[in-house]
Symmetry: C2
Subunit: 247 residues, 2 copies
């Protein structure tokens, strides 16, 4: 493999390479930023302020800069549009059908991100309405994205409804084996809160007893020793996510 002649050939080839010979598509990232608030799954939408599809609601996204990694572009989109940093974010799927964007061929590498509701709501405070929207994402059957305020259905830009559907499907599947529920909660939480998050994601009720057992047996959480307070009934133990895996 370490043939010096071919190394020289390769260097010569690269020096002469003209990247502009072939037509190339544009590459964008779009982020499905999910949270659970009021026992419902919600996603952040941005109102398009430019053509095309001006005025429609879209997932936060941006074009990928030519010297920037895909992950970095996705993180930049979250920072720019939602004012958040250090969120849990993972690549989801890449959409690239010709014609999905009327401007030109745009390939969109999509990500999903998970943030706890308090953080997200603080970050977008005062900007919801014309500019931003924390839209409800209903149960799997009814794929209508609704505004939180008046419950009206929102028409999403481009193929973003499809991106959203893929994201929800993905985290539903992932919930069964990966500890992603914690990303949607503050640092300490009760088992009831954790279960409500799981139920919101799955869109169905979960068995209280076996949920408790499963979570505790896996050693993914550890008790902080403190109790929730001021609820009018017996307080629950507060837990924290045990990153080590425990046990």
């Amino acid at each position: 493999m370490a043939d010096p002649d071919s190394d020289i050939d390769e260097l010569a080839f690269l020096a002469a390479y003209d990247a502009s010979l072939y037509p190339r598509p544009s590459v964008a990232v779009d982020v499905v930023l999910l949270t659970v608030s009021g026992d419902e799954l919600r996603t952040l939408l941005v109102r398009r302020s430019e053509q095309p599809q001006l005025g429609r609601w879209a997932l936060p996204g941006t074009f990928v800069r030519v010297d920037e990694s895909l992950d970095a572009a996705a993180a930049r989109a979250v920072t720019t549009k939602a004012g958040l940093s250090e969120v849990f974010i993972e690549q989801l799927y890449t959409f690239g059908n010709p014609g999905r964007d009327p401007r030109t061929r745009v390939i969109s590498v999509t990500y999903y991100a998970l943030v706890d509701a308090a953080r997200l709501e603080a970050a977008v405070l005062g900007r919801t309405g014309r500019e931003l929207c924390l839209a409800r994402v209903p149960a799997p059957d009814a794929w209508i994205v609704a505004d939180t305020a008046d419950g009206a259905a929102l028409e999403l830009a481009f193929d973003h409804r499809e991106l959203l559907a893929v994201a929800v499907e993905r985290i539903r599947g992932k919930l069964a084996y990966a500890p992603i529920g914690f990303e949607l909660l503050p640092a300490t939480f009760t088992l009831l809160e954790l279960r409500r998050v799981h139920e919101a994601i799955l869109g169905r009720p979960l068995n209280k007893d076996s949920f408790r057992r499963t979570i505790l047996d896996r050693g993914l959480v550890e008790a902080t020793g403190e109790l929730a307070r001021g609820l009018g009934h017996r307080p629950a133990t507060l837990y924290r996510f045990a990153r080590a895996g425990g046990r």
Copy 2:
């Protein structure tokens, strides 16, 4: 949403849109074409006949044409490089770090494909050696891709070793809940053959009894009524994949 003025604005905008304003990366597809042969997981590699990385082994791939969907580009890569059509193929992950290709910024949308060994071996017959290679993909721990012939480790081009690792990880995970083993077998097969395929993918032995029960209980296979023959011992029932899901 159906404001006629904004529609006119959008049309005017699109007519004036110049897609060449921003620098754009190249977009390629690469396919991890997997099969199980000789109780081992294998993947098809292509020897690079051009610069850069001339002579190294690479996953079959191609650049995406500007009017072609990603799926179509992946299917075209399989047809062109392996001479196969109608294979099971799914998108895997998109790699796009700057610097992963020395020519220019190349974003690679990767796919994995599954083919039964007999079909793949017939398709690449006579072309293995200098041009193509059906390389062994060993157990998860030893991430050395080895040539089938002399067992020597192969050095892969670009970041293709990483792509391969992600593909194997993905089908291992998927095997637990999706009927993908059938894609790696001919139309009819015995339960032993199906188990060997699963074992090759997972890299560990599976319990014979519960494997049989699990597969049969799920109703994913149905007996053809015929028996395997010529084996020197009691013949096993031949099954076929029951696409309906059964039961």
